[in-house]
Each structure stands twice: as C-alpha cells, then as structure tokens.
Symmetry: C2
Subunit: 336 residues, 2 copies
Amino acid sequence: MMKIAIDAMGGDHAPQAIVAGVVQASQTFDDVHFLLYGDEQQIAPLLPEGTRNVTIHHTTEKINSDDEPVKALRTKKDSSMVLAAKAVKEGQADAMFSAGNTGALLAAGLLIVGHIKGIDRPALMTVLPVLDQNRQFIFMDVGANADCKPENLNQFAVLGQYYARFVLNNQQPTIALLNNGTEATKGNELSKKAHTLLAANPHIHFVGNIEARELLTNPSDVVVADGFTGNAVLKTIEGTAIGLLQSIKNTIKSGGVTTKLGGLLVQSSLRGLRDNLDYAQHGGAVLFGLKAPVVKTHGAADEVAVFHTIKQIRTVLQTQVIRDLSEYFEEKSNEI
Amino acid sequence: MMKIAIDAMGGDHAPQAIVAGVVQASQTFDDVHFLLYGDEQQIAPLLPEGTRNVTIHHTTEKINSDDEPVKALRTKKDSSMVLAAKAVKEGQADAMFSAGNTGALLAAGLLIVGHIKGIDRPALMTVLPVLDQNRQFIFMDVGANADCKPENLNQFAVLGQYYARFVLNNQQPTIALLNNGTEATKGNELSKKAHTLLAANPHIHFVGNIEARELLTNPSDVVVADGFTGNAVLKTIEGTAIGLLQSIKNTIKSGGVTTKLGGLLVQSSLRGLRDNLDYAQHGGAVLFGLKAPVVKTHGAADEVAVFHTIKQIRTVLQTQVIRDLSEYFEEKSNEI
C-alpha cells in the first residue's frame, strides 16, 4: 500500500477541492492510503460514508499563501503542510502533496524531507503538452532555484532523464538547454558554461540549445533552465495561452450574428484544445531530487486537478525512480 | 529632411522586401531621405520610375545570418550593414535600419554608432500590444545584454520612460520589474538588487514587480528585465501565440462539417485578432541608449513590417528623445 500525505488546507479552494480530489482518487485506486492533514471539523463532513483508505490527522494551524516561507516553517510547526512533510521524513508516508504556498512547500521539501545525497539542488519539474502532437515534455527548473550554477543544470538534466525513463516510459530521452540562440556559443555566462558541461556529460543524450520559441511545438523530451528563467517562461506560456483564448472568446462575443453563430459551431472543438492545454490534467509540479516526491499543484486547483496530481504521484511511486536516482548519485559521489 | 540608412541586404527576403518597404515609405513620407546600402544591380530594378528621396550606395559585401557578429564587423568592412552604421556615425544619416544578423547589428550599434555617455549598456526595446486593450507597453531588454548588473536594469527603466514619454506620448509611464513573484523580496540576486535600485530611483514611477503571467493582459507601461530573461519571455510569447493560433486552425480543419462551417464564420474576426498580435505592425526592436536609433526588424520581415518599422524610426527622429536622454545622462554623470 502506497501512502501519500496530503496538505488538506493549502490552496484557494481548500479543503473542499483537495478532499474531493482525494475522495475521487480513493474510489479509483485501491492501493493508496491517504493521510489528510488539516482541520477535522471541516474535513470529516466532506468524506462520503464508506470512504476507505483515508485517515484524518487533525490540526488547525495552516500556512497561508502570503506567509514568508522559511519563517512559516519555523513558527507554524503544527501546520498541515509541515506535518505532512514530517510524515514523509519519518517514513509514515511515501510522498506528499500540497496546493498551498509554493515557497513554503519548496522549503519544507528541502529542509524537512531532505535531498538525495549528491544532488545539490532539487528542481521543480513540470510536464507540458506539445501542441498538436500526442506527446509531452519535461521542463525544469520552473522555480525552485532562482540562482543556479552550471553544475545544477547538469544535474537537472539527469533528474529529467530519470523521470522520463521511469515515469513517462521514454528510455532514451533527448535533453536540451533553454537558451537564447541555438549555437553553442550563445547565451549568458551561466548557460554557456552549462552547455559545456551538458555536452561533456556521457550519461545523457544532449541535443544542444533550444530557443523558447520552439518550446510548445518542437521541444526535446527534457528541457532544462535555471529556475528564474524557467519560472518566467512557464508563466509566460500560461499567461499567453489563457489571455489569447480569452481574447478569442471576447472577439467572437463582440462580433456580429455571423461570428457568434460560427463561435457556437467551433465551440466544442476549441474546448478540446483548451483541455489539451489544461495543465490541471497534466498533473502537478514535482520537486524532484528529494528523498521522496513532493508535489505541488496550482493554488487554484479544482477537484480534477487534485485527482490528476494524485494519479501522477501514484505513478511515480509505482516506479523505482527515486531509488535508482539515489543509487546513481551515490555512485557518482563515490567516484569523486 | 531626416536621413535613414538602410541595410538593404539583411533579412530573409532581402533586398526585395526591404526595398519594397522603403519605396512605400518614400511614397508616404516626403520628409525622409533613404540611403540604401547594398547591391545596386539588385536594388535599382526594384525602384519604380520616379522614386524620390532614395539614394543607392553600392556594395556587394554583406553579413550573413550565421556569421559570427564581432568577427563579421571586423572582416566585412564593406558590408551593407557596416556601411549603414558608419553613415550614422559620420553624421550622413540620423538612424539606421536592418533586418539582418541581430548579433552583428547590436555589435555595429555598440562599436560603430556608439552609446550615449553615461549609459553603460544600451538595451534592445520592443513595443508589444496589450490583449483586448487599445494600448501598448514597452518591454526591454529583449536580448542585447545576456548578463546584466542591477544598475543596467535601473538605466533601462529610464530609457523606457523616455521612449514612453517622447515616442508614445505617455507623460508619466508606470515602470515594473519582471520578476518571479510580486513581493519585493522575491527573485534572484540580480532582480532583488535591481528592485532596490528601482524603488530608490526618484526619476521614475516604479510600481514594483510584475510576473510574466500578467504581461500581455495587465502590464505596466514599461517592463524591464535582463536581456536573457527578456529574450526568453519574448520568444515564449511569440511561440505560444503562433503555436496556439496554428493549433486552432488545425482543430477547425480536422473537425466535422459543422466545425468547418463555424471556422469560416469566425475567420474574419480571428484575423483581426491575429493582426493585433502581429508584431510586424508594431514596428521593430530599437537598440536604445545609442547616439542614434539603430532599429532591427524580424529576419522574416515583409514589406509591411519594413514600412511600419521605418514609420516608427521617423516618429522617434521627429522627437527630441535622443537629445534629451543624452542631456539627462550627461547631467547624471556630472553629478557623480
């Protein structure tokens, strides 16, 4: 039985959306036990009679979205997020989930769950859909490390490769560096040095630089970037896609009768596209490189997003990815 | 009479698209003289009889898109781009235009035209449309400086403010820093230090951080970023917008009869949206902070894009923005 610790109080729609997603997951998967951390008064009524494999661990303290991350961990030791992280650290759970304060979750991952020996900086990893193709790609770091060293990016590549192999069943994933030009000599000091390290890394299939313009249409299987740029690029994709689809809606709504009629006729097709772009269905962002998966989903996550993220965590736990990753870095540490 | 030096040989569709754009501009504006640098054999036949205010400066040498920038400047002294830059340096022209090798153009701007005293690093600046609003915002640096210091970003803010005031007629533009969080404490080392400088700058109306998610829907009038992040974000916007619109087209084309009919009905409205997003109509990217405007447009630029970029250069030259900017930084240098 896999055990997942859930921060039931994090996110804009907590605990309702979180608990609803967990209930759906508990009805779908019979090999997962859920440890729900949060206010029992609020959570218990949300569990339908006969719900199995769910245990509530009561606490009334919680970390808010505007709390200063490290300070919140220190002062809110009984918060739902901290207790969930501690459950992982102490072996009561195999992974943790939260839709709460991202900074606090990253800090909880690093400071409570702890990183795999030999990995200097775990990265926040997300899986994005490729437009008009039935495939996905891994993009990291999308925000765990605002300042990176070249070696961090080289490690991100290995992390991404393991995730692609074990979780996405892609045995020989291609890996590219996000950069502002395709030539090896392009970029800032960091990306130039990272390029050199990646090109010399015998353990990965490095295919060179990728420009952000190609990201959604022609990416390699894994794309690595520093956490500042990766975060900006991910948010730009979201902002542009959402803004554009909204703008199309407005354009159709403000059009004449012909345009409105046309809008009705294309509606269902566009909904399909929106669903394909809906990151909720592609799971959450995994803080990867830790001793156990710590997974974040959008603060605005609804029941569906929570369910899909739990499904993703289950898939990760079913593989031996963390064990093998630990062995790889263990051996590498010994080499040096 | 304003004089604009044109690199007639740079870009994917040179010299045809470049010359066609210049011809259109010469027919529209009677206060601009164009100095066309390039192969007279190819250019002369493209000028309709009676074309006024256009002089051809013959050269057969040109810089290719894959030439190494600084080396190309050194070895191709008679290239159309270098000659156009020299014309500006020597006062024969007031500004220059190219659709050619971006790196080489940036180098030509810095090394031949030269920067305004007191400005350490000129920035590549672009004007982008805000979705569903009849306004634009200035975004910089989109690629001139892959590595920036905090003070560079503080100077970019002043550069953007001057451009907004003089060229876009926005007297008190708001200025924000692109960052991965809205709080002042968010970001990498560079953005945190830049935030402090910007907040303390008495000459600008700084409104704090902006996240990339808000860029197209709710930006300040000027948004500053380092050239690596700015470049990645700009290319992400382009890639996401183009990819999404293409994907919508594909979705409609592969749909049933109803969807196809709907597609026909909404077509003209969507074309309006695409035109609004068409960066060609918003002019080129200005390397700003130099003694004269050096303006780049897309390599793929067509006649329309060339025309609009020339129109933009004319607007810049009609103002006193470069003179006033020079005075500001001159005074600032004297203060210290």
